[in-house]
């Protein structure tokens, strides 16, 4: 189980490979990668976070997922700082004996990271910078777990 919060880019292909190789006994590996979408003239994104709490919150979420779905392993990588459109923001990976558990755990991790890990996104456009508002749908997504 690993949590990495960092400013530097990551190589999600290499991460997925290493994660799969290390997940001995798994029959199913699911990965999710979030990418900065070049929507509506977006020129960049700045991600602020709360050092210390970020790692603590993500570790707690990941431990919950590992236990609930009997995961063989779990991984969360999340960037902060300045990102360009098209760049990967974050990824999660889950490994389980069966596919339903690997999928459910990855979706759970994403839903919780969205609303319970202390990150804040600020989008840059030609017109200036705006903080991304949390969506009610993201908060509602937690209710299914």
């Amino acid at each position: 189980m690993r949590v990495r919060v960092r400013a530097e880019a990551f190589d999600q292909g290499a991460e997925v490979s290493a994660f799969t190789t290390g997940a001995t006994g798994a029959g199913a590996v699911v990965s999710f990668t979030g990418i900065v979408r070049p929507d509506g003239g977006l020129t960049g994104m700045e991600i602020e976070h709360y050092p210390g709490m970020t790692e603590k919150a993500i570790t707690a979420i990941l431990e919950q997922a590992v236990q609930r779905w009997s995961l063989v392993d779990g991984l969360v990588i999340h960037r902060h700082g300045r990102l360009a459109p098209g760049e990967p923001i974050m990824m999660v990976a889950t490994a389980a004996p069966h596919r339903a558990d690997a999928f459910a755990a990855a979706e759970f991790l994403m839903d919780y990271l969205k609303s319970r890990a202390p990150f804040w996104k600020k989008e840059s456009r030609d017109g200036g910078e705006t903080w991304v508002a949390a969506k009610d749908a993201d908060e509602d997504a937690l209710k299914r777990w």
Partner: protein, 82 residues
């Protein structure tokens, strides 16, 4: 004395990322009242606490939570990770 941290637009509105605060408040809500009374920029940042979240020693908490024994309080908007 307590460390008070601000993130995202709360940080921008107040104009600093953290400060040491001498407080007699016993709950988060009491601390918010004290901060609001300080200056317009604090009043603006804390105008609507339903738009804010609070963490005590790096765990999410409610605004009616007690401050006893707490060393670090953080105020921020709803999180937008992932």
């Amino acid at each position: 004395m307590i460390d008070v941290l601000y993130f995202a637009w709360v940080r921008e509105r107040i104009g600093l990322p953290r400060e040491r605060v001498e407080t007699g408040a016993t709950t988060v809500a009491g601390l918010v009242e004290e901060l609001r009374a300080r200056e317009e920029r604090y009043a603006a940042a804390f105008a609507d606490t339903s738009a804010l979240r609070v963490a005590l020693d790096q765990d999410l908490a409610d605004f009616d939570a007690p401050l006893a024994g707490v060393r670090e309080v953080a105020f921020f908007p709803p999180m937008t990770g992932g």
